[in-house]
């Protein structure tokens, strides 16, 4: 796509956006609510089409896509959008407005951020020019078409810019939008931030999630339930989403308890692999996965206190570590179990991760759980929930802890 074509699309969007803003905000919100109701409905044609096309486009197994969408979109409906708008935009003492145009640079292969990235600016009357992720051009195209089917005016406010990330001139034309939203790794975000002259630049860098189990979830039914929930959190989107835990911290666990937790998690991941098979793994990722597994096996063989539970075919791996040392996270269903002595030690272990933290699955702390959850939010977590709920964040969840809509809005008092 040439820079001129990008500029032409932005210009056309400006005009479409003006027409959209001429309509009442309630009408626009109602249209978007209807779109979310469609996407939330597993029987809708759009949802079925996405479920059919996404596996081939992204490498995820069909079962994983189906379950992942079912968990994530169950409550992302029109009513949730109305509540979100009422909470973030409902203060009559503050006037909020969108921008003339919003450029969205999408990344990755998980579809929910795409849906939200298109709907949120539109809720403010801002038209969107979206650069599809190179690894998923399906989701954005289907969402755009679904919006056009619901309302032609809404559809005219979404356009796609399928350009290469290395096409600097076209990228600069895209980044000339008044509002720019970028998804991607921190290096990409920093690069695009440096090049953008947007009045508003909203970054969604990479994040990670964790699980923390207290003594109440170190054994018995509580452990089995926590392990089953975490296995689903890990298995969905093959642990590539920022809400999939990459490590489990077992607070107050001795070696035997850590072994028990690792055993339970391994059994749950084996079960999850039957229900939601892991998808394709690219050679570089597979090499990292295999290398970390073999390295842990060697540490175990050398008596360094590690223990490895792994699927013979490499579909998942649980490493019970002896300490909290940070080690590579190969993703693709690879999780480490770290015993930590107490909450103070947990705080020390998590300190280097604060800046990257997204979600924490929490269980087994009894009456102290609420206080710990508050502490984790203070430490940077934007979602603290029970095991098994990480892959179903509410519509108003935002990885950076900002408002979903207010981060895209200009505001003025009065």
């Amino acid at each position: 796509m040439t820079p001129e074509a990008v500029r032409a699309r932005l210009e056309a969007l400006r005009e479409a956006g003006a027409r959209l803003r001429a309509r009442s905000p309630h009408e626009v919100l109602a249209l978007l609510a209807r779109a979310l109701d469609v996407w939330s409905d597993p029987a809708s044609a759009w949802r079925r089409e996405l479920e059919a096309k996404l596996p081939a486009a992204t490498g995820f197994a069909p079962e994983t896509v189906r379950r992942g969408l079912a968990r994530a979109l169950a409550d992302w409906n029109g009513e949730a959008l109305r509540r979100l708008a009422a909470r973030e935009l409902g203060d009559a003492s503050v006037t909020r407005a969108g921008f003339e145009t919003c450029a969205v640079v999408l990344a990755g292969s998980i579809p929910m951020p795409t849906l939200k990235a298109l709907v949120a600016p539109l809720a403010l009357g801002t038209p969107v020019l979206a650069k599809p992720a190179s690894r998923d051009s399906v989701s954005v195209e289907l969402v755009a078409r679904s919006l056009a089917e619901i309302d032609a005016g809404l559809g005219a406010c979404v356009s796609l810019a399928p350009l290469s990330r290395v096409d600097a001139a076209a990228l600069d034309a895209l980044l000339a939008a008044e509002c720019v939203v970028v998804y991607g790794d921190d290096a990409t975000v920093a690069t695009l931030s440096g090049r953008s002259r947007a009045r508003r630049f909203v970054a969604h860098g990479h994040r990670l999630s964790l699980a923390v189990l207290g003594p109440g979830a170190h054994s018995g039914t509580a452990l089995r339930e926590a392990a089953a929930g975490l296995a689903e959190d890990i298995a969905l989107w093959d642990q590539l989403g920022c809400l999939s835990p990459i490590a489990l911290y077992a607070v107050g666990a001795d070696a035997a308890a850590a072994d028990r937790i690792a055993d339970a998690l391994a059994a749950a991941l084996a079960d999850a692999a039957h229900r939601w098979p892991r998808g394709a793994v690219e050679p570089a990722a597979a090499a990292l996965f295999a290398g970390e597994r073999a390295e842990a096996e060697l540490r175990a063989a050398a008596g360094r206190g590690a223990a490895v539970h792994a699927d013979p075919a490499g579909a998942w791996c649980v490493v019970r570590e002896a300490d909290v040392r940070l080690r590579p996270a190969p993703l693709h269903r690879f999780v480490r179990v770290h015993p930590v002595e107490d909450l103070h030690a947990l705080g020390t272990a998590l300190a280097p991760l604060r800046r990257h933290l997204a979600g924490v699955a929490l269980a087994g702390f009894g009456a102290g759980q609420s206080a710990l959850a508050r502490d984790l939010v203070t430490d940077g977590a934007s979602l603290v929930c029970a095991p098994g709920s990480l892959q179903a964040p509410p519509l108003d969840w935002e990885s950076e802890g900002r408002g979903v809509l207010t981060s895209l809005a200009r505001s003025a008092a009065g």
Binding site: R165, L208, P283, F289, E295, L298, A300, R304, R327
Partner: protein, 373 residues
């Protein structure tokens, strides 16, 4: 001879047999039977004398008795050298350590050696074939090393390699041009100008990163040299952990433009601290054949499915596993962190696609540890 091997006759016999092969004038002749006989003996030795490796192999159901073919010998990932002293000899017999360069991933890997004899014997025929195939017996070449000397960095396997190469094949004018981490550009340019004046071809050898510094310096001065015919470049090391990265194709084009060395005379070396042997591009050894990396006959390079460990079909990408008879004191089979493709009788090392986008938004290796370091 620097050795701490002690008096184990089985090990001495293994070393002697491997050394004999490396030192034969026909060293580059492949010999599968010879390789496999030595590989099985070496695996059995290491299985017996390196306890963590033995338990690792047993965990995978691979023992000297159960092994059906040499390709089944379990490889150790290079990352393991960061935390474990993987030796087949008592650690107190260590006479030398090579450490990997620092990376954003934190700790450095260590190769403990109880002798340097195999390392040095392995590197010379490979270097000569890959970089100086036209050097007559007893001949010496003018070499400029764009890397620190072994005196400055004694634990760098690359610096040690250059020291041995200069000692054996360098002429009196050959020299190092990196000191205390800085490329001495002025001295290097005088060296290159002198070579031009004398029409003396040069072997310009160093890290890719040092070449970038040289090219930047030439660009800053608005200079472009045309080094004498017969000049060649050897670059190695990539850009791991460096802020500035230049794709190989761009680097070679710039070397050609600023130094007058055509891409067909630029050799990339693939090597790592954890291996006793190195692998060179074929461009000088076999100038009429496609560029690929050639493996010395006392090594085997396997391109395998990372998860299953089985060889991938020809032309497919897989993990590079190196089986290296020069590694008698550590482990014979090493799983590198690199991907490769088999190319005829050689192989090609491939990195990640430049600008490749992650599939997900969760943090993986370098970003996490880099940020936490």
């Amino acid at each position: 001879m620097t050795t701490g091997r002690g008096g184990d006759p089985a090990r001495a016999s293994l070393d002697a047999d491997v050394l004999r092969w490396m030192r034969e004038s026909t060293a580059w002749r492949g010999d599968d039977a010879r390789f496999e006989e030595l590989a099985l003996r070496l695996f059995a030795w290491q299985f017996e004398h390196c306890a963590p490796y033995r338990r690792f192999c047993e965990g995978r159901g691979r023992t000297p008795r159960s092994l059906k073919r040499v390709g089944e010998i379990p490889p150790v990932p290079t990352g393991a050298f960061k935390e474990l002293a993987l030796t087949s000899f008592p650690l107190e017999r260590t006479v030398h350590r090579f450490r990997t360069s620092g990376t954003s991933a934190g700790s450095r890997g260590v190769l403990h050696l109880d002798t340097l004899e195999l390392y040095e014997a392995a590197l010379l025929p490979s270097f000569r074939r890959g970089v100086l195939p036209d050097l007559g017996d007893g001949g010496r070449a003018r070499m400029a090393v764009l890397a620190p000397s072994a005196r400055e960095l004694p634990e760098s396997s690359l610096s040690h390699m250059f020291e041995v190469v200069l000692r054996e094949h360098g002429d009196l004018a050959s020299a190092y041009f990196v000191e205390r981490g800085e490329l001495d550009v002025e001295r290097l340019l005088r060296f290159l100008d002198d070579a031009c004046a004398a029409a003396e071809p040069v072997a310009l050898c160093g890290t890719a990163f040092a070449f970038v510094h040289l090219l930047d310096a030439l660009a800053l001065r608005g200079r472009a040299l045309t080094l004498p015919t017969g000049t060649r470049a050897l670059e190695t090391g990539g850009f791991k952990g460096r802020a500035r990265v230049r794709p190989q194709r761009e680097l070679y084009a710039e070397i050609e433009a600023r130094l007058g060395i055509p891409a067909a005379r630029i050799v990339n070396q693939y090597g790592m601290t954890e291996l006793g042997s190195q692998f060179y591009d074929s461009v000088l050894a076999e100038p009429d054949a496609p560029r690929r990396k050639l493996a010395p006959p006392w090594t085997r390079v396997l391109i395998v499915d990372p998860l299953g460990g089985e060889p991938v079909p020809a032309g497919h990408t897989g993990s590079i596993v190196v089986q290296d008879l020069a590694n008698t004191g550590s482990v014979f089979a090493v799983q590198t962190a690199d991907l490769g493709v088999a190319r005829g009788d050689g192989f090609e090392v491939i990195g990640r696609e430049p600008g490749a986008e992650e599939r997900g938004c969760s943090i993986a290796l370098d970003e996490l540890l880099g940020g936490a370091a």
